[in-house]
Structure formats: structure tokens, C-alpha cells
């Protein structure tokens, strides 16, 4: 089952540059939350805070409180946090030296899965979920870099799903994909929200409208507004939200 996350007074910096200001947000379990906003407003930074990836950057700094099902992320080991809060990046990033199979199996092996039959089953299950199995089942031993961009991105989704996190963060997972791969990913998100909490960054308003239960609008490092998606796209409360979703800027 997915878990909820709560964010309170989150501030984040790159060096002296404050990127996020006093963000408060409740992310409900087993829901899809979309993050929208103009380029550079801090969407990626925000979700990178949610799995403590932001702080791996040498000049980065975070303040505030983030809880996963009530437990503070900063009381946990970041490695454990990232096992529970998985991430799909803006650009596909399969492990360049590994085969398709190993790209997924490595996370399982490190998480303690030893039996090869179990490994094979779980790799297959993850690939099926990401709608990639049929395309790669005959060449699992081939390097992952031999896949197309869209296939690589689905491989990365499978890789994140394989270790069964509670929350899945997706940073514009479809921005580099063709319409068909995009549709597959949207269907996949629809499916997995039974078992996962999903936070997805997107530039595509229609996509947010199609898949998200909740939508949050970021602007210049501030969370301007967050609401049910239908509410947000029909009756935004803030003028800036309205301007953005009607395409007046961004």
C-alpha cells in the first residue's frame, strides 16, 4: 500500500540561491498528485527533497519537515528513504554498463533477494507493469543502452517499481517520449495508484488533468495553490494559477 507524505515549511537552496520557500503540502496515499508550474519554479527540486536526493548535491541545503506516514525523513537513513520513496528521472537513466535484466535485478539483489527464480519472477513482473515485457523478453541480456529512449524510460519505471516503494516520484517521465509511450505511461500510473502513492511533475496540463487526483501549482519557489484537479482546472482560486493554466505565461 502507498503511504501519505506531509511537508511542512520546506525551504531548499542551491548555494545561496533559495529555490523553495515555506512549502506546506499534504500528499494523500494511493492518489496521484501532479506538480505543475513554469520552468525553473522548483518542481524538480521539490520532488528531489521528497526522497532526500536534493541534499546529495554538494551545495544543496534543506530545512523543514517532511514525513512519510508520520515518520520524519530526516530521522531515517537516506538509503532507507529512497527504498521507500522511489524516483523516475526527467531523462531516462538506465545503468549504462548493465543488461536490461540487471538494471532491474540489481535493486532487488541489493535489497536481499537471492533466489534466482524469485529474481526472474520479480523482474518479469516489473517489466510487465511498465508495459515493456513483450518488447524485451527475448533480449534481457542485451545492454539497456540499446533500447530506444521511450523503452529506456519505461525500463527506469520498472526499475523503480521492482523494489516496491510506497511512494513513486516521477519528474516529467514522459517529456522525452512519443505520444504512444506517453499514453502507456499514463495508463501505467492509473494502474499503479492502487498500490503506490504517485507524485508526478508535468509540463503538460492535459496530462495533469487526465491522470492526477490532486494538482499543485508552483510559482517562483512558492506553492501557490493545491486542490482537486478538476477544481483546480475549472475554478482556480489564484490569479496566477489561472494565468498559467490558461496559457498566459509559462
Amino acid at each position: 500500500m502507498g503511504k501519505s507524505m506531509t511537508v511542512r515549511r520546506l525551504n531548499a537552496w542551491y548555494g545561496a540561491h533559495q529555490v523553495l520557500h515555506e512549502i506546506d503540502m499534504d500528499i494523500e496515499e494511493n492518489r496521484v498528485t501532479a506538480i505543475i508550474g513554469p520552468s525553473g519554479c522548483g518542481k524538480s527540486t521539490f520532488i528531489r527533497c521528497l526522497n532526500r536526493m536534493h541534499e546529495t548535491h554538494p551545495q544543496a541545503r534543506v530545512e523543514g519537515d517532511i514525513r512519510l506516514a508520520g515518520e520524519s525523513l530526516f530521522d531515517l537513513d537516506p538509503v532507507d528513504v529512497r527504498r521507500m520513496v522511489g524516483m523516475v528521472f526527467q531523462k531516462p537513466n538506465p545503468f549504462p554498463t548493465m543488461s536490461i535484466f540487471d538494471n532491474i535485478a540489481i535493486g532487488l539483489k541489493l535489497a536481499g533477494v537471492r533466489r534466482s527464480s524469485e529474481l526472474r519472477d520479480r523482474v518479469e513482473r516489473a517489466l510487465r507493469m511498465a508495459a515493456l515485457w513483450d518488447e524485451v523478453k527475448d533480449r534481457l541480456a542485451k545492454p539497456a543502452t540499446a533500447l530506444s529512449g521511450g523503452q529506456q524510460q519505461r525500463l527506469c519505471i520498472a526499475r523503480a517499481l521492482a523494489v516496491e516503494p510506497e511512494v513513486l516520484l516521477m519528474d516529467e517521465p514522459a517529456s522525452a517520449l512519443d505520444p504512444i509511450s506517453t499514453m502507456r505511461i499514463e495508463e501505467l500510473i492509473e494502474e499503479i495508484k492502487q498500490t503506490y502513492t504517485v507524485v508526478i511533475v508535468t509540463h503538460n496540463m492535459q496530462q495533469a488533468a487526465r491522470i492526477a487526483d490532486k494538482t499543485a501549482f508552483f510559482y517562483q519557489g512558492h506553492l501557490i495553490e493545491m486542490d482537486d484537479t478538476t477544481q483546480m482546472f475549472t475554478k482556480p482560486k489564484d490569479k496566477r494559477t489561472e494565468d498559467y493554466i490558461t496559457g498566459r505565461f509559462g
Partner: protein
């Protein structure tokens, strides 16, 4: 149209001739050096044959007595040029140097590439470059003053007491002038090159790939182990080969701490040794007193062998660390 003056044309031609000479000179140097040592070695190659590589006895013979003849070559009576001691000394000391230098270099390179930024990173990088610039004779002097006594009084007895049951670690602990001292001194001299090369390789590993590893819950070490190191593997092997080549060719520092053994193979880590390079430097003077010229020919053959080995490791190394694109291209 501008008219090019005669003088300008002359200068241009001169420049092109100079550039051509400059471009050709490395090849010319290499070929002429190789040719000279090869020609100079021919008499001993004929005199000793394969025994040059397999015998331990290196003896210039009786320089003031009778001469012997073998395979059409004239040499002082009793002369024998067996290089095995120096070959073994070169290989063992350089391998010990690698065993020490590789982990140190990888650790340092990882820190330099991934851990430190800003002024501290700058400082550490400078230190690595500085270490590379220390003249070999200075390191040798440090070896004599500090390392050799320390090995004799503390380190060798300690190693013996802890690991003495392993063949090469037991036995006489000696004077400190040893295989071990040579290996350590060589390690110091090759750490900078391996570190710098490995660091440059590590920074080429895409950040996105490393973040992907962190993203599925890998520890920093696991990211290094499963993503970064496999990514740089070939180049890293090349970096090690580069260091190895350098360790085998290094002369002065080894000469100062090796104990200059002749005619006897090392019995353990604490035995004196000599390497090909150190022995050549050490023996050239006395070899020149051999009126038959055979001693110099023998040293030339040693130089030829050393040149061939270091050239080969360097070529392999350069080929492995060559810059290349990585990613999309995959074998069918």
C-alpha cells in the same frame, strides 16, 4: 588582393619546415633510441641466447685475463650475463607498488571526484600534482632516512609476526634495504598518476546514472561499485598499466633503497633486490672498464628489454584510457 611578400613566404616555409621537424621528432627519437639499444645488444644476444632471461648470475668475468669465445663472440673469461635477478626484482617491486598504490589511488580519486568541492578540493588536487612533481632522488633520500630504518626496526618485524606464516612474509627481516622498501617508494611515485587519471575518468561518469543508483536505494559505495567503477573499467585498467610502466622504469629512488642485490633472487619481502633500471644506472661505470665491450652490450640488452616492457605496457595503457564516447553504441 594582398600581395604576399617574398620575405613572408620565406618565413612561412621556414615555419612549416620547423613544424614538420617538431612533429617528427618523437618518432625519430623513439626509433633511434630503440635502434641503438638493439644494435648494442646484438653481441650479448648472440653470446647468451635465451640464458640472458633465465640465469641469475651476472658476472663481467676476468677483465684482465684470457678471453672466451662463444657463438662467434669474444668475451672476458668467466663472463655471464644473466638478468633474471633484475627481471624478477623489477616485476616484484612494481607489483608490490601496484598493490599499495591502486587502493590508495582509487580512494583518493573517489574523494577528489565525488566528495570534495571548492577550496578543499582545489588544495587536494594541488597536493596530488605536487606529489607527482617531487624529484625521484628526493623520494629516495626520504626512503633512506625514514623508510628503510622504519622497515628494519618496526614494520618488517611487525609484518613477520603477524603474517609470517605466509611464505614471502617470514624469514630474515634484514636491513630495511629491500624489496618492500622499493615497492613502497615506487608506490609513492605512481599514486599521483593513477589518482589523477582515475579521477578524470570518474568525473566522466554521468551524474544521472549515479543518481539513478541512489534513487533505488544504493549506498554511495554501491553506486561506486556497481555503476561508477564498471563504467570506467577499461580506462582504469589503463591507468593502472600506466602506473605499472612507470614503476618498472623508475630508477633513482629504487637504486637508493633496494639494497642493490646481484646474483641472488629475493627470498622474502625483506631481501635486497635490484631492478633493471637501477642496475643499469649502477653498473654503467664499471661496465665501461670492460675492454671487450661486452659488459656495456649486456647492459644495453637489459635496456632493450626494459624498453620493450615499458613500451608495451604504455601502449596498452594509452589504448585503454583513450577518450571515447559511451552510451548508445552497442554490439549487436
Amino acid at each position: 588582393m594582398r600581395k604576399v611578400s617574398k620575405a613572408a613566404k620565406g618565413w612561412d616555409r621556414g615555419f612549416r619546415v620547423l613544424a614538420a621537424i617538431g612533429a617528427a621528432s618523437p618518432a625519430v627519437f623513439l626509433v633511434s633510441i630503440a635502434a641503438i639499444v638493439l644494435v648494442e645488444s646484438i653481441p650479448t644476444i648472440r653470446f647468451m641466447g635465451i640464458h640472458f632471461l633465465t640465469e641469475t648470475r651476472w658476472d663481467m668475468g676476468n677483465l684482465y685475463g684470457a678471453l672466451t669465445h662463444r657463438n662467434g663472440i669474444t668475451a672476458p673469461a668467466g663472463a655471464s650475463y644473466g638478468a633474471l635477478v633484475f627481471i624478477v626484482g623489477t616485476l616484484l617491486s612494481s607489483v608490490i607498488a601496484l598493490v599499495i598504490a591502486v587502493p590508495v589511488s582509487v580512494g583518493t580519486a573517489l574523494i577528489l571526484a565525488y566528495r570534495v568541492r571548492g577550496p578543499l578540493g582545489f588544495l587536494l588536487n594541488i597536493l596530488v600534482e605536487l606529489l607527482a612533481g617531487i624529484p625521484s632522488v628526493v623520494i629516495g633520500l626520504w626512503g633512506i632516512l625514514v623508510l628503510v630504518p622504519w622497515i628494519a626496526n618496526a614494520f618488517a618485524p611487525f609484518l613477520k609476526s603477524v603474517l609470517g606464516f605466509i611464505p614471502f612474509f617470514g624469514g630474515q627481516t634484514g636491513t630495511g634495504y629491500s624489496l618492500l622498501a622499493s615497492g613502497i617508494v615506487l608506490a609513492m611515485m605512481i599514486v599521483p598518476i593513477i589518482t589523477a587519471t582515475t579521477r578524470d575518468l570518474l568525473v566522466q561518469v554521468p551524474l544521472l546514472a549515479r543518481e539513478g543508483g541512489l534513487g533505488i536505494g544504493m549506498t554511495s559505495w554501491e553506486v561506486v561499485r556497481y555503476i561508477a567503477l564498471p563504467y570506467i573499467r577499461e580506462g582504469f585498467i589503463g591507468a593502472v598499466a600506466l602506473g605499472w610502466g612507470r614503476a618498472m622504469g623508475e630508477t633513482m629512488a629504487v637504486l637508493m633503497v633496494s639494497g642493490n642485490a646481484t646474483n641472488i633472487l629475493p627470498q622474502n619481502l625483506y631481501s635486497p633486490i635490484s631492478t633493471m633500471a637501477a642496475f643499469i644506472a649502477n653498473q654503467l661505470d664499471s661496465a665501461e672498464t670492460d675492454a671487450s665491450g661486452m659488459a656495456v652490450h649486456a647492459l644495453s640488452e637489459l635496456a632493450l628489454l626494459l624498453l620493450a616492457i615499458t613500451l608495451a605496457t604504455n601502449l596498452v595503457a594509452r589504448w585503454l584510457v583513450r577518450p571515447r564516447r559511451r552510451g548508445g553504441v552497442v554490439a549487436p
